[in-house]
């Protein structure tokens, strides 16, 4: 069980963050990923596996300023 954006979910397979983002159609140049209350640098997306108990927040930026 992992928590993603506040929702508990069970991932069917052992996913990396990069795989999760791709499967859920995130545009990785518009997001910030926080894993267990720490920033996850982009270069770690493909080598970080989501594991039981993880909490991930994905902040998606929209245009405007």
């Amino acid at each position: 069980m992992v928590t993603i954006n506040g929702n508990q979910t069970t991932l069917s397979t052992d996913l990396t963050v990069a795989e999760y983002l791709e499967q859920n159609n995130y545009q990785t140049n518009r997001i910030v990923v926080e894993l267990n209350e720490e920033i996850l640098p982009k270069y770690l997306y493909s080598e970080t596996r989501l594991k039981d108990g993880d909490s991930m927040e994905i902040v998606t930026f929209v245009g405007g300023g």
């Binding site: 140049n29 518009r30 997001i31 910030v32 926080e34 209350e37 720490e38 920033i39 640098p41 982009k42 927040e57 902040v59 998606t60 930026f61 929209v62 245009g63 405007g64 300023g65």
Partner: protein
């Protein structure tokens, strides 16, 4: 009256409004504002007016006619770099502020050198890719700095969906989170200013030692 006020006169007025204790903290404040559009120009005005002593203005762009619907510029600034135009405006409010400018596009390559000396960073860009790049860069390279960012402030939707959230210890995010500009619901002065005021007040709170939202 058109003569310039002395530094002592301006400080006395700020001390009268804010108290000498608070003003001393504000005068020591050191804030970078990345992006000088609807968010950044309004944030800069607010911080300059309360005498935040050290402002670092960053933008690569020039003032365009479509900026006048929400940004703190005037017709005479069309075609000028926003860094130069905004600095000249802020110095009309308080000529004794320390205002540094960098007329440059922030990139992953220059972000560390650009923001090294600033203790609080205001993300005020327009494009989502630029916002994400800045926030990722600051959180990765400068986790000890305070970062105040914004997303979702287009249109004329409710005032009250604009919020300030604390997403991490040093990362604050203002806005409604979802409303991007589209036809008939573009970026407009009132609601962008609400969001800018959220950023500016959170920055003020941080300068004065309040970390809660």
């Amino acid at each position: 009256m058109n003569e310039k006020l002395t530094k002592e006169e301006i400080m006395a007025a700020l001390n009268e409004r804010h108290s000498p204790e608070k003003q001393a903290l504000l005068s020591e404040g050191r804030v970078a504002i990345a992006g000088l559009g609807g968010l950044g120009s309004n944030v800069a005005y607010a911080l300059a007016r309360i005498g935040v002593g050290h402002l670092h203005l960053i933008d690569f762009d020039v003032v365009d006619i479509t900026n006048l619907n929400r940004q703190q510029y005037f017709m005479e600034h069309l075609g000028m770099y926003k860094t130069d135009a905004l600095k000249s405006l802020l110095l009309k409010i308080n000529p004794y502020l320390d205002i540094q400018t960098d007329c440059v596009k922030v990139t992953e390559e220059n972000i560390v050198d650009l923001l090294r000396d600033d203790s609080i960073i205001c993300e005020a860009f327009d494009r989502p890719e630029a916002k994400a790049m800045l926030v990722n860069g600051v959180l990765e390279h400068f986790p000890e700095k305070k970062l105040v960012s914004a997303t979702g402030m287009a249109g004329y939707g409710s005032n009250n969906t604009i919020r300030t959230k604390r997403l991490m210890k040093n990362f604050y995010l203002c806005g409604d989170g979802v409303t991007e500009p589209e036809y008939g619901n573009g970026l407009m002065a009132p609601r962008v200013a609400i969001c800018a005021a959220h950023e500016a007040n959170m920055i003020t709170r941080l300068i004065l030692g309040e970390e809660e939202i």
